[in-house]
Subunit: 207 residues, 2 copies
DNA sequence: GCAGGAATCAAACGATCGTTTGAGGATACG
DNA sequence: CGTATCCTCAAACGATCGTTTGATTCCTGC
């Protein structure tokens, strides 16, 4: 499963190498020289294809988040507003697409990039993420509000923030948690999802 | 409450400015030239007093973590092994010292530095933190294990990791959550602690 | 098969990085 | 008063940063 093979177009090889090096060394820590060397392309290729390093960073996010948040929204649409929907259902709509990404290619490296973006309080990056994907969090929060009417607005924001913090932290470490070889991949993913959903649901619903 | 005034010794002025700039721009993003300019000291002072930038980073952690984890361990010793101790008590021993730090001076900036250290999967930094402060997490985990005997070792590690992730994430954002002016400082801190403890306890104890 | 845009290349740009140097100032002790 | 020690300072070190340039190669459409 190549993330940056010689047969791929230059743009995708750069994106693959960027994802890996941003995860490992941070946005400032990974230089364009390391990056283009790892991708096997010329140094000038980044500025030619993306314009600048900052635009490359945005493109790394866009490529993954478009897919991730698209799947999250699709899963949420199916259950939002329904009478039988539970907190666990909404959490599953949020978590399962992220787990699928984590176990696909070097998607788990992207989760580490995302965790870095959370830790960096960089205004430009936060604005980009908020502008492009803020509506996703608002939709999920609105559905939680419907299912947890006893919580004040303030309390709800608190708990949703704690849940996203825990999940981002946990999923950024998935590269290290290896499943036992006798458990099939999808079964392992299902167990992980159950762990996370149970934990988060208990926190959200706590009295 | 100056963090880097002209009257303070050079070493402390550097540590104060370093904490702020590392929180804002990361370890690689903050340069020694910015840092020494903000502290009002000569560029060479960092290498004279600390030896290198990496040793300065370690000293930034040491100064705060010695105090923070000292208070955590003291609070834990008082209740560890007792018959009446609850999960909430242990969580309070972990959380309250961190909240006290967050509301004291620019201690909240340090919590952001700590959140960065979590997100960076830098081996050198992780080894330093593990070598010097790993015993704290082991002690707390052991006490959780005593109070939650129904959890498997694997499940317990999972949940403790989720809790620390949520708390680190939450407390790194405390600079932005301002208390209402009609609520006294210590009352606000107490309320925040209750929020965090309730959330974490529900997650840990979830069936 | 040839013109022309797309893509790649080596090389260089000025800026900034962490670190080192050696001279000079401050301070305490004989 | 002199001297030894701690500290500060401006300046420079080589390395590396993101970006730009201009020539060269590749590929496509006529």
């Amino acid at each position: 499963m190549p993330v940056s093979s010689a047969s791929m177009p230059t743009k995708e090889r750069i994106l693959g190498a960027a994802e890996e090096l941003f995860a490992r060394h941070g946005f400032e820590g990974a230089s364009l020289r390391q990056l283009t060397a790892a991708a096997g392309v010329n140094l000038a290729a980044v500025n030619y294809h993306f314009g600048s390093k900052d635009r490359l960073i945005e493109e790394v996010f866009r490529r993954r988040l478009d897919q991730l948040n698209g799947r999250r929204m699709a899963a949420l649409q199916k259950i939002a507003g329904d009478a039988g929907t539970t907190v666990e259902d909404v959490l599953a709509a949020f978590i399962v697409p992220a787990l699928e990404l984590s176990h696909d290619g070097n998607g788990s490296l992207f989760m580490r990039v995302l965790a870095r973006a959370f830790a960096e309080h960089d205004d430009t990056l936060r604005k980009f993420l908020s502008d492009n994907y803020g509506h996703v969090m608002r939709q999920f929060t609105a559905e939680f509000a419907r299912l947890l009417p006893q919580l004040s607005k303030e309390e709800l924001y608190w708990r949703v923030d704690l849940v996203t913090g825990a999940l981002t932290h946990a999923m950024s470490g998935f590269g290290m948690i290896q499943r036992k070889s006798d458990v099939p991949e999808d079964r392992h993913r299902e167990q992980t999802a159950q762990h996370l959903i149970r934990f988060a649901a208990s926190g959200l619903k706590s009295p």
